[in-house]
């Protein structure tokens, strides 16, 4: 049996799983397209969202839920320019 030191916070795997579900199930976020990656420096969030508001809200929610885990966000806002090329299909 593995004994986890409660002073060190939850194991990283569970934090990762909980963040992943929080991002989808929290009505203020509802994002399924965010990837949570564990690195030596903490957790990094990757993905694309539809507005800057959403990017900020994700970081706010995750940091609020896990105040002791260092979190970096590398989330982008998907561009919405008209296409410059077309694809032709015979």
């Amino acid at each position: 049996m593995t004994v986890h030191d409660p002073g060190a916070g939850p194991p990283d795997e569970y934090v990762e799983a909980e963040i992943h579900r929080l991002l989808t199930e929290d009505p203020a976020v509802a994002e399924q397209g965010i990837t949570v990656v564990r690195t030596e420096r903490g957790l990094v969030l990757y993905g694309e969202v539809e507005s800057a508001n959403r990017r900020n809200e994700i970081l706010r929610r995750v940091a609020g839920r896990f105040p002791d885990v260092p979190i970096t966000s590398d989330i982008g806002v998907t561009r919405t320019q008209a296409p410059t090329e077309i694809e032709q299909l015979p």
């Binding site: 509802a30 397209g33 507005s51 561009r79 919405t80 694809e87």
Partner: protein, 258 residues
């Protein structure tokens, strides 16, 4: 004959996004015959969010045809969502189809949201607990309705529109473990049961753009985070600029097991 199709999925609209797509959408009348929306139009599937979709994608000057996605089901307000979209002139397909008279010919679009289940050799089976059987029956019923809708349309060019993916090719980039939640082979089988020219889907935000069904039908993942532009444009027909034409087999990433 050339039919010009614009398409995007997974725009996940709410008030905070309204206006972002509109400048690009205003260019559509000169550039495309139709705009297809591949599901996940809203964030949580509320009527208020559907009104945001109606505002952003309504009154464009080209016909707009949509299927819903899993996000559009989240708040159990599907009839209200469909109502708000329909009021704005957006056609919502679910197991049915429409034929549009375009300048160069008749475009048939059959649509269904679809469901997960996985792909050949790596899929869920109609066996065991009632929950598992209900899951797989949802998949097969959805695919059967797509097949019937595709076969029912009398047109020059036939397009299948789904939210879930009909092939694993366009999921490349997603973790393999979640493929069964992203699509199912039964949708591919439905697409191959009719003379489909192109299959468009969304849902796989980390997937890739190009794939092909086992029957040789081109598949494109038009999820907004994948195409990274307001919409993609496809030209279908027999009078294309041959130097610009994509051929079957050039797209997609080969999976060792697919």
């Amino acid at each position: 004959m050339v039919i010009r199709i614009a398409a995007v999925g997974d725009v996940h609209l709410d008030e905070d996004v309204v206006g972002r797509f509109r400048p690009a959408l205003e260019e559509l009348p000169g550039r495309a015959d139709v705009l297809l929306l591949a599901g996940d139009l809203t964030r949580h599937g509320t009527e208020a969010e559907a009104r945001c979709v109606a505002q952003e994608f309504g009154g464009l000057g080209v016909p707009v045809i949509a299927v819903l996605g899993n996000h559009d089901h989240q708040c159990d307000q599907v009839p209200q969502v469909v109502g708000a979209l329909t009021e704005a002139g957006i056609t919502v397909l679910e197991g049915d189809g429409v034929v549009l008279d375009c300048a160069d010919g008749r475009l048939g679009v059959a649509g269904v949201k679809g469901f997960g289940g996985g792909f050949a050799g790596r899929c869920a089976s109609d066996f065991g607990e009632p929950e598992m059987k209900a899951f797989v029956r949802t998949t097969t019923e959805s695919a059967d309705r797509l097949s019937a809708a595709l076969q029912s349309l009398d047109c020059d060019v036939l397009v299948a529109l789904t939210h879930y993916s009909p092939v694993p090719d366009t999921l490349a980039g997603e973790p393999l473990e979640i493929y069964p939640f992203l699509g199912c082979y039964q949708l591919g089988q439905a697409i191959d049961s009719a003379p489909t020219a192109l299959a468009l889907h969304g849902h796989a935000h980390h997937g890739s753009e190009r794939g092909v069904t086992p029957g040789g039908v081109r598949v494109r993942n038009v999820a907004h985070p994948v195409i990274k532009q307001a919409y993609s444009i496809f030209y279908l027909g027999d009078h294309l600029d041959q130097a610009e034409v994509s051929s079957v087999g050039t797209g997609g990433i080969q999976q060792s097991w697919s």
